[in-house]
């Protein structure tokens, strides 16, 4: 089976005052129809840049897709025309951002904005589109959708605004829905509502979801598969169960052991010492080496590749020399 969305060896660079930096370095990912891929990692590791690349939204300059392919149903989107990318956005792939206020227009009612999004991709009358918008608002759980459709974004709570964003994102039944930290600005009870909604929408529309988060708990509840990113690279990738129960890469292990999670016995939190190195200081070797308890000379010299080592039933791709050599 070929994946619906496939990212292969994606490389994205930025021109900065420190010279050219590589924000994404041979990133490969895929998502199948009806599947949720969780992308997790610390701030600055490249989660959003990966998402923006798919949508053709990398700010350029200073950014540039310097290599690799992004295939949607086999069609390579890297280098596609602006016209093609505009048609893609909304119709085939849609994105939900962390702060819905920045992507909603404050001077139009939310019903109007959803109707607008529908008319952009479908040949329907304005009346019809507005009625569809109300139906979508109802679908995403907004109470009294008829009157809410006539509200402006600032009249809605944060949770309702995020629901409006989701309504807009699914208005043309995209095949891929990218949610970039869709709940970080929301309260937990509202976050739970949004997560449940995303799952329902996936069941109804069969969309593939890419959920970007820094929260391993969210990954556990939402994701079928997980990609762990560090400093612009995917360092581990497998089913959510394999990553959570049998993490291989020392960074993936650290990320799981360092959270004071509910639903786990109280233990001392394991720390990951140090901080993520800035992109312009990344060297030849493994970007995690200076924080790693298992670092050996080879780790400083040579970048580990993301491959499966060994034939343990839970074996899965991890970019780590220690795992390859069987010493971790």
């Amino acid at each position: 089976m070929t994946a619906l969305l496939e990212i292969e060896d994606l490389r994205v660079t930025f021109n900065t005052r420190h010279g050219q930096v590589t924000a994404l370095d041979s990133v490969s990912l895929h998502v199948n129809e009806g599947e949720t891929l969780g992308v997790v990692g610390e701030s600055g590791c490249g989660k959003s840049i990966t998402a923006l690349s798919v949508m053709g939204l990398i700010p350029s300059p200073p950014g540039r897709i310097a290599g690799g392919e992004i295939r949607l149903d086999g069609e390579n989107l890297v280098g596609a025309s602006d016209k093609r990318l505009r048609r893609l956005r909304g119709a085939e792939a849609a994105m939900i951002f962390q702060e819905p206020m920045t992507s909603l227009n404050p001077v139009f009612t939310v019903g109007e904005q959803i109707a607008e999004a529908i008319m952009l991709h479908q040949k329907v009358s304005h009346d019809r589109a507005f009625r569809d918008a109300i139906e979508l608002l109802d679908r995403v759980g907004i109470p009294s959708p008829e009157s809410r459709a006539r509200d402006y974004p600032h009249q809605l709570s944060g949770g309702m605004r995020q629901r409006v964003m989701i309504a807009m994102a699914v208005s043309c039944r995209p095949r891929v829905l990218i949610a970039d930290e869709p709940t970080t600005a929301l309260d937990v009870t509202v976050q739970a509502q949004i997560f449940d909604l995303l799952n329902e929408i996936q069941r109804d529309f069969g969309a593939a979801i890419v959920l970007i988060t820094h929260d391993m708990g969210a990954i556990s509840e939402m994701a079928d598969r997980v990609a762990v990113m560090y400093a612009g690279r995917v360092i581990e990738e497998a089913s959510a169960d394999n990553v959570l129960d049998h993490p291989l890469h020392p960074y993936a292990r650290g990320l799981i052991d360092c959270i004071p999670a509910l639903g786990r016995e109280e233990t001392d939190l394991k720390e990951i010492p140090g901080v993520v190195p800035p992109l312009h200081l990344l060297g030849e070797g493994c970007a995690f080496a200076d924080r790693c308890a298992h670092c050996e000379p080879r780790c400083l010299r040579e970048k580990p590749r993301l491959v499966t080592h060994g034939n343990h039933p839970a074996a899965h791709p991890a970019a780590c020399h220690g795992v390859e050599e069987g010493r971790i």
């Binding site: 610390e42 937990v188 739970a192 999670a261 639903g263 939190l269 990951i272």
Partner: protein, 332 residues
């Protein structure tokens, strides 16, 4: 043992703009008659959603926000009755660390001076003793003394939070108020700071008033937990009771909503307990229980009569129909 902090009926009201010239001025009740105690050497967590009044309650407790009513007995003295001068003397016993290690440190001051500042203000020890102390506390929080001449921007977020902690500790406070001390930090860095706070509490016998919206963080650091909803404490219990046998439906909803490693999509997990809607507005709070609109157990009584905190199970809970939730218990 007498409590370090004994707060009674603390209330904070903010005046709002008048809707028209002759209309009465509306008030926003951010904190509504809350009472709690904190024993020396313990950490009390305050959890609750955005706008529930956590920060306002803590700030009013230490008199950085003006209370509209109530009493705050700190070491037996009512802080709200102290003269400004006497309150200033008390300040060295009470220190504060904030959520945002970026904006709470003056960018143009060397960290050496930043850490020493509270001692200068409160005239603690001789100048030489102050300098020694800065070095001592810098080490204690895991920073290197050779970094003392640097400016805040030359440190990472986690290191900046360490600097705020060092600064707070130099006056030997008895109480440390921590307002979301790790929510601006990456998870890996959070663990470093949480472990540091846990260690300092043991080593220095500190008491914490620890605000967080993250139940996992609170469970890790705190001995007792108070859950706030729309300006009221709805449940107050020792950590184990609160997490293992919560009595208030709102506490149950919070626990059920917090993402957990124990719930797996692959295991066909369904959220045991759902609440709909958003918290109500604090401007004209409903007469009865503020959670009634969203509560699966609500009865007509709940919308009319405000429940008070009363012992139930191992908790104090403000609910007309408290008790364990079957679905939540089966799920865990």
């Amino acid at each position: 043992m007498s409590p370090l902090l004994d707060v009674r009926d603390l209330t904070v009201r903010f005046p709002m703009p008048k809707p028209s010239l002759f209309a009465p001025r509306p008030h926003l009740e951010a904190v509504r008659q809350i009472s709690f105690t904190l024993e020396p050497g313990r950490a009390l967590g305050i959890v609750g959603e955005s706008g529930s009044g956590k920060t306002t309650a803590a700030m009013a407790t230490i008199r950085l926000t003006e209370a509209s009513g109530g009493e705050v007995h700190f070491d037996g003295v009512d802080l709200l009755k102290l003269s400004p001068e006497k309150m200033r003397m008390r300040r060295r016993d009470i220190q504060l660390i904030f959520q945002d290690p970026y904006s709470s440190l003056n960018p143009r001051t060397r960290v050496n001076d930043i850490v020493r500042e509270p001692m200068d203000l409160m005239e603690v020890g001789t100048p030489a003793e102050r300098r020694e102390r800065v070095v001592e506390y810098f080490r204690l929080v895991g920073l290197r003394p050779d970094q003392l001449d640097l400016f805040p921007h030359q440190f990472s977020g986690g290191q900046r939070q360490r600097i705020s902690i060092a600064r707070a500790l130099t006056t030997d406070p008895k109480l440390l108020v921590c307002d979301e001390p790790v929510s601006a930090l990456d998870v890996a860095i959070q663990a470093q700071i949480l472990n540091l706070l846990a260690r300092l509490k043991d080593e220095l016998g500190l008491s914490y008033l620890f605000i967080s919206h993250d139940l996992g963080v609170v469970r890790h650091v705190c001995d007792d937990v108070a859950v706030m909803y729309l300006g009221k404490i709805v449940e107050h219990a020792p950590r184990a009771a609160l997490f293992d046998a919560p009595q208030h439906p709102y506490t149950q909803a919070l626990i059920s909503a917090a993402p957990s490693l124990a719930r797996r999509k692959s295991k066909g997990y369904v959220r045991p307990l759902k609440v709909s809607g958003d918290p109500p507005s604090p401007i004209n709070p409903p007469p009865g229980c503020a959670f009634a609109e969203r509560c699966p157990r609500a009865q007509p009584l709940c919308r009319e009569v405000q429940p008070e905190l009363e012992p139930v199970g191992g908790s104090l809970a403000a609910c007309h129909f408290p008790g364990p939730d079957e679905a939540l218990r089966d799920a865990s």
